[in-house]
Amino acid sequence: MTIHLLYAFAGVALCGIGLFGFIRLDHLLRKLMAFNLMGSGVFLVLVGLAQRVGQPDPVPQALVLTGIVVAVAATALAVVLIRRYYHLSGQITLAEPGREPVKKPAADAHREGPTE
């Protein structure tokens, strides 16, 4: 059991926690946080596993950098969408409006603008 493997296992644990949150949480921002947690876990695995040769390997580090950029971009997009969504519907979960008890009468659930 090297230190690197320890990192890797920590990464796996982070992933697990993130996944749990991602699935269980309804609040969109929390979901997003869970995703980021999971992402960190994966990066940790990537860096941790690859170091087992002994020598520091530059490749995973470069990859993780790229990965972080991607994750940031995705997070940004998600935040924008969630904000806009909240703005339009007043909701912070993905539940269908029709299934929520008070919001609107159920009959309107399927009537969406005439164009599409």
Binding site: L46, V59, A73, A74, L77, Y85, L88, E112, E116
Partner: protein, 488 residues
């Protein structure tokens, strides 16, 4: 020459994207028309180059893996590049007429469109696992943005749901990549394969492969992980739906297929292959059934995508543990299915958009009497439907034929049922739409007539998918081209 072509494929779309980001919708439209022309020409040129000289590996900027970007340019890849150029050009053209320039947020369509195109090309040509990941993410983010372009709360809900699924899938894939790298120390698919076949590194557990396949299947909306697809495809603007169904889901499938064909033999197993096949089969049946039950036109088409994607996953059982000939047959069949579904589904979504535009409602039963007024869009819809049903002479039929042959030859006769029943079920939902349009006793007597160019585009796509079956042999022969010299 090759340098220019490769740069043209990967970087110019990004350039168009940046360019259109800076201007408004109408100017962006002009830029896009120019860009489409360039991209189509470049794609054709690359296709011609590969068709005459064979495939090759290309290292961008001369950098070798692992840090450089390795591109694998073979017959299959260029075919998909060309397909992308074709479908994207059609959708772009259609969108330039279809989208309302008056809505300010529509200007973002163009950059997203170009990012998507760039991402797709990256995936088709990418030779190492991490680049594929980047391409995939690029596609996902652009696609989510396009879905959100609809503007209403429902569109955003669908977009967010889509985004969440895509992100989860990406992470699963990335984790798999990490594990693979940890085991093999390389990201190049070709190197991993070489290591496996040399026996230098012992074939490890199936887990990384399963993880990657899970992520990709989620992004491809394989049953039972298809929940995000119909809302997203159904709610998006028609050209967007067309792009998503025709190309985006194919990108993740393409990666899965490459992984399976290269690694599946060593890392996969019979049970895994059959499991994926069964899920695909269930997707065919269940997706078709749901498509039959939908009341909204675009939902019908969207669920039909779920079903058609199911066919693709028959690749897994039909290529595992069989002779090369059968495997080749199955691969060819799946490739044809990808192409014909891309063309047909794009045509179908675009035609459905036209139909909805002209009757002013998105319900199937609102189509009553439309056959009298909109023969062209309806005709395109019908022709595309024929391809989905897998009736001759369409590409869908050619694909089905090859898959039937592969199933028979490999002794896995149970897939016959899926193939035949799937065809009949798709006939059920396609004919439901037809039938509605043939009803004659209707009160509605005035329909809005869409511009002619909107009608022509789906017709062209539909005719292409129809004619694909007739030219399947030459198309397949390009795909099967060997690499130029076997060494890299």
């Amino acid at each position: 020459m090759t340098l220019w072509l490769m740069a043209g494929l990967l970087f110019t779309p990004l350039a168009w994207a940046v360019l259109t980001l800076l201007v408004d919708f109408r100017k962006g439209r002009v830029v896009t028309w120019l860009g489409i022309l360039v991209q189509v020409l470049v794609s054709l040129a690359l296709w011609a180059a590969v068709a005459s000289d064979g495939g090759f590996y290309y290292f961008l900027g001369g950098w070798q893996a692992p840090l450089g970007i390795e591109l694998r340019v073979d017959g299959l890849a260029v075919t998909f590049v060309l397909l992308t150029a074709l479908v994207a050009a059609a959708c772009g053209w259609h969108a330039s007429v279809y989208l309302d320039p008056g809505k300010s947020w529509h200007r973002y369509f163009w950059p997203l469109f170009w990012f998507l195109w760039a991402g797709l090309n990256v995936v088709w040509l990418g030779g190492d696992l991490f680049n594929l990941y980047v391409g995939l993410e690029l596609i996902s983010l652009a696609a989510v943005g396009l879905v959100a372009l609809g503007g209403q709360a429902a569109a955003l809900r669908a977009a967010i749901r889509y985004l969440m699924a895509a992100l989860l899938g990406s992470l699963a894939y990335l984790l798999g990549v990490a594990l693979i790298y940890g085991q093999f120390g390389t990201l190049s698919l070709a190197d991993v394969t070489a290591l496996l076949s040399d026996g230098t590194v012992a074939a490890g557990q199936t887990f990384p492969l399963v993880l990657m396949l899970f992520g990709l299947a989620l992004k491809t909306a394989l049953f039972p992980m298809h929940g995000w697809l119909p809302p997203a495809h159904g709610i998006a603007k028609s050209p967007v739906s067309a792009l998503l169904s025709a190309l985006v889901v194919k990108a993740s499938f393409y990666i899965a297929a490459r992984l399976w064909l290269d690694l599946g033999g060593h890392l996969g197993g019979y049970e895994l292959a059959q499991l994926i096949g069964v899920l695909g089969g269930l997707a065919v049946i269940w997706g078709s059934w749901l498509a039959f039950r939908q009341t909204k036109l675009k939902q019908v088409v969207a669920y039909s995508s779920v079903a058609q994607i199911g066919y693709l996953f028959l690749l897994f059982p039909l290529t595992w543990g069989v002779t090369d000939a059968i495997s080749l047959q199955a691969q060819q069949g799946i490739t044809l299915q990808v192409i014909s579904h891309a063309l047909a589904k794009a045509a179908m979504f675009l035609a459905a958009g036209n139909l909805i535009m002209s009757v002013g409602s998105n319900r199937v039963d609102a189509l009553a009497g439309v056959s009298r007024f909109l023969p062209f869009s309806l005709f395109s819809f019908g022709l595309a439907g024929v391809s989905l049903m897998g009736l001759p002479p369409t590409g869908g039929f050619a694909a089905k034929w090859l898959l039937l042959q592969a199933s028979l030859a490999s002794g896995q006769w149970w897939w016959l049922g899926v193939l035949l029943a799937g065809g009949l079920l798709s006939a059920a939902y396609v004919f439901r739409v037809y039938q509605a349009s043939f009803i004659d006793n209707t009160d509605t007597d005035h329909f809005f007539h869409p511009p002619k160019s909107l009608e022509v585009i789906p017709l062209i796509l539909a005719l292409l998918s129809l004619g694909l079956g007739l030219v399947a042999e030459p198309v397949l022969s390009v795909m099967a081209l060997p690499f130029e010299g076997s060494s890299r």
